[in-house]
Subunit: 231 residues, 2 copies
């Protein structure tokens, strides 16, 4: 991994999914002093947090998991309530809107900014990407730009929000990850929360499509290393 010997301290929001894990490898490759921050908001797909931890151990990155269980109390959704069923099908479907935790991104970005200020970091990275835009209002460019502005004003010290994957779709991210040698066996995407990925929820469908795109790009069979139910 080549380093440019920048010693700026930066924070990466790491969900344990493919996008933020690829972003972590990407930022590491640039030689920053990287701190990873994850959020536990009682998500059913909590496995991603364990994998985030393993990725950070592998890359030797300091990793903090913040307990955001109050988000479940303050604004329930199908992702956090045991009594609400996660819908099947493609992300673009109307019923996937139940999976939106209201304003989750602003909550996580604001807490990550507090953390960044506390440790003296100057940049905050997060893995918003082009595939998210349609169903999540808080993944749109206007929102990210406005949050960049809010974050730049919230403290006397300089904090810059960066979302470099903004223009990439999930397939492009896997292509980038392949170049960075990302260990995707340590990432989790399925929203259902069982031992193996379901292969059917919107998240799984999108993940599998991303590996297909990367396989076509590299003209090889770049298989998703995680296990799926019924396989």
């Amino acid at each position: 991994m080549k380093t440019k010997m920048k010693k700026e301290k930066v924070v990466v929001i790491l969900s344990g999914g493919m996008d933020s894990t690829t972003l972590l490898y990407d930022i590491m490759s640039k030689g920053y002093d990287v701190y990873a921050l994850s959020f536990n908001y009682n998500q059913k797909h909590k496995k991603e947090l364990d994998l985030a931890k393993l990725t950070c151990e592998k890359l030797n990155v300091p990793h903090k998991i913040a307990d955001l269980s109050l988000l479940n109390d303050i604004a329930p959704s199908a992702l956090t309530r045991d009594d609400w069923k996660v819908p099947e099908g493609h992300y673009a479907d109307e019923n996937m809107k139940q999976t939106v935790v209201p304003n989750r991104n602003m909550v996580m970005l604001s807490l990550a900014t507090s953390y960044a200020i506390g440790i003296g970091a100057t940049e905050l990275y997060y893995g918003a990407h082009a595939g998210d835009h349609d169903i999540y209002p808080d993944c749109r460019k206007e929102f990210i730009d406005s949050m960049k502005q809010s974050i730049s004003l919230c403290d006397w010290s300089k904090i810059e929000l960066k979302a470099p994957y903004w223009i990439l779709d999930k397939g492009d991210i896997v292509i980038r990850g392949k170049e960075l040698n990302v260990d995707y066996s340590l990432t989790w995407t399925c929203y259902v929360g069982k031992e193996k990925a379901c292969g059917k929820c919107g998240s799984c469908v999108e993940r599998l499509e991303a590996f297909e795109k990367a396989s076509k790009y590299f003209q090889l069979n770049f298989k998703d290393p995680i296990e799926y139910e019924g396989n």
Copy 2:
């Protein structure tokens, strides 16, 4: 209390201090369907939360206290850490900067927005005022305007951030509160966290100045109804 029979649902962030308590009375007087939201972030001046509860009971307003103790974990400050002493003196002093919880306002605004979306509210009120600007970067007009923008973009439903006391100082707020018959015995301002207010910390100094200004305005002795040490 005159009502205009608007039935819009609105959320007021209620700290239990003078500004947000006055704001709650103010919004109530306009006849909205008001929900109050407070945050417990292990503040030493936790008494304000008990008083916020009493104010809501008195005004018959639904009141939620969200547990934000993770802010202490994610970004410590003199207001939340037992081992850090709250400095004495006026707010404007350099040493008061220790009392800044990094990015606290954005964190509270983002969570309040999640709450507002969850209950179907269209407006979110908070009591930022002109006295706060100098030492808190996240009380500046640029910050509030940027957060208005971010909040308006974070969801498909319309949520508007309102900070109507932006142009008022604390004295002006007490003047407004006097007109609204605010019960200031149910508000708390001291940062030190003892049984009686200390009368010496930046918060107490500012509170006492506010009552002096209101007294001059009304040309009567409008005394602060809470108890101070040494009185």
